[in-house]
Symmetry: C2
Subunit: 285 residues, 2 copies
């Protein structure tokens, strides 16, 4: 039987935390003196505590750990989780690196004078466009969207209905933009093809007036371009009248004629990409 302080020094878990684990039932003290309420721990409890801190280091919340330990998890299960977590961690690292790239773009933005960032914003109208599209909530722009494009393109190609213009993404104002991002990825069609539950086939409405800007380079630069767009909108005293569209004019540098490659977001070697942002606007108020 060890007192809480001793147990704390050997397990390197703070007294506060041991008490906390006791409270939430994650690791109850082995014995509690009914007279003094002193907690006493036994060596038998060490394995469980070790499990707990191992799982905690895996990034699992205490609540989930409690559930896991309640089910007396088989070692193989743990192994599996370990592997899974390892993968997850690697993916995490990758995403971190992407973030760094994006961030680099954001920072480089600051190095130039804020005003003339060299983005030529033009106002024009957008023609209606027959498309096949998937609309979906995604946690963030990137891989998921590329996957959606792959799905769409493969479907459309089986019907040989692909029109020779660029694929695009529409960013729908998702409620008040808490939580997730609602995107609609769309590829142009020359003929109507059967829709499905997931995939809609319809005509994107014409837009009488849109502020448009073309940017080159990876997705990381889109922030800057959007910035220019909004600045234009403000300067011209219009207001936004529809979801932002992002049109992938050129992507896949080696194969500029192929429209069938989905855009590769956030890759490093994407400096040759050409993208247009289109923002529907209405003049005046």
């Amino acid at each position: 039987m060890f007192r809480i302080g001793e147990f704390s020094t050997f397990t390197r878990v703070s007294v506060k935390m041991l008490r906390h684990y006791d409270e939430i039932g994650l690791l109850k003290a082995g014995f509690v003196d009914p007279a003094t309420s002193y907690r006493y721990y036994t060596a038998d409890q060490l394995p469980r505590l070790n499990q707990i801190i191992a799982l905690k280091d895996l990034g699992i919340s205490l609540e989930q750990i409690g559930e896991l330990l309640r089910t007396e998890l088989a070692p193989t299960e743990l192994r599996g989780m370990l592997k899974l977590r390892k993968l997850e961690l690697e993916g995490h690292i990758q995403r971190e690196q992407q973030r760094l790239a994006l961030l680099e773009a954001r920072l480089s933005m600051l190095e130039q004078p804020v005003e003339g960032q060299g983005y030529a914003v033009v106002q024009r109208s957008l023609a209606p466009l027959l498309v096949a599209s998937v609309r979906q909530h995604v946690p963030e722009v990137g891989q998921p969207i590329t996957n959606l494009f792959e799905e769409l393109e493969s479907l459309v190609s089986t019907h040989q209905a692909r029109a020779a213009s660029s694929p695009l993404t529409l960013f729908h104002n998702p409620g008040y933009r808490e939580e997730e991002l609602e995107v609609e990825v769309a590829v142009p069609l020359k003929t109507v093809i059967p829709a499905s539950a997931r995939i809609a086939v319809y005509e994107l409405p014409a837009v009488p007036q849109a502020a448009c800007v073309v940017y080159t380079g990876s997705y990381a630069h889109s922030t800057t371009a959007l910035n220019a767009l909004l600045r234009w909108v403000e300067a011209n005293r219009c207001h936004v009248a529809g979801p932002l569209r992002e049109v992938y004019l050129r992507f896949g540098a080696d194969d500029p004629d192929s429209l069938r490659l989905p855009p590769a977001f956030l890759t490093n070697d994407s400096e040759q990409f050409v993208t247009e942002l289109q923002l529907p606007v209405q003049p005046h108020t």
Copy 2:
């Protein structure tokens, strides 16, 4: 001028957060209607917000970001921070992997029956030992300790005072073990050498009774060994009477005779290491 919701959708910062940033003065709304308290944002504020989220993604707290932006940071400075952060991130990744290794050890512990974990705990006495030592708070076991050993060994070798026994670490109960770990790393001496402010030279007291266990392999296994030790202490109804000692009997597999290599913690290829844990105990109560 954009209303908060619109600004939110385009910057992908939630309305709640925009209001929060306004409150704490990180990004004040460009204009607040005095009658309605409506917040209005301008395109001019986009760069600043982009800075904020860039820095936030760097892992910097909002408070610090505020300070940074107040000083109108030079771009080169930002570059530097970026590089720094990148390094930091890589280090972080490395540590994560170490943690995974340690964790693997913890988990594998579970795969064996909890009882006989094959650790032979013996009780014996420890002789007094003249040492040079550094006592210091460290955030975690690992690199810092290795460095301390290097420092000690190099000092001792200039005096040619090294005794031919193993270096060790003492883990002092650091208060109640909140915050940091207080370790004392020590190398044995055959003669007294001058002490300094950092480095103490004295005789470690003899310990009449200590529970000892030898384990092989990397530091990751020490948890298990300590576990066995505490179990023994409990079973033999003694209690702990001093700081835990960790004696590095063999380390640096290629050069078993060299006592001058500091132990390499948490490395992968350390399966040949031999370490003894010694825990001073007192019988009975």
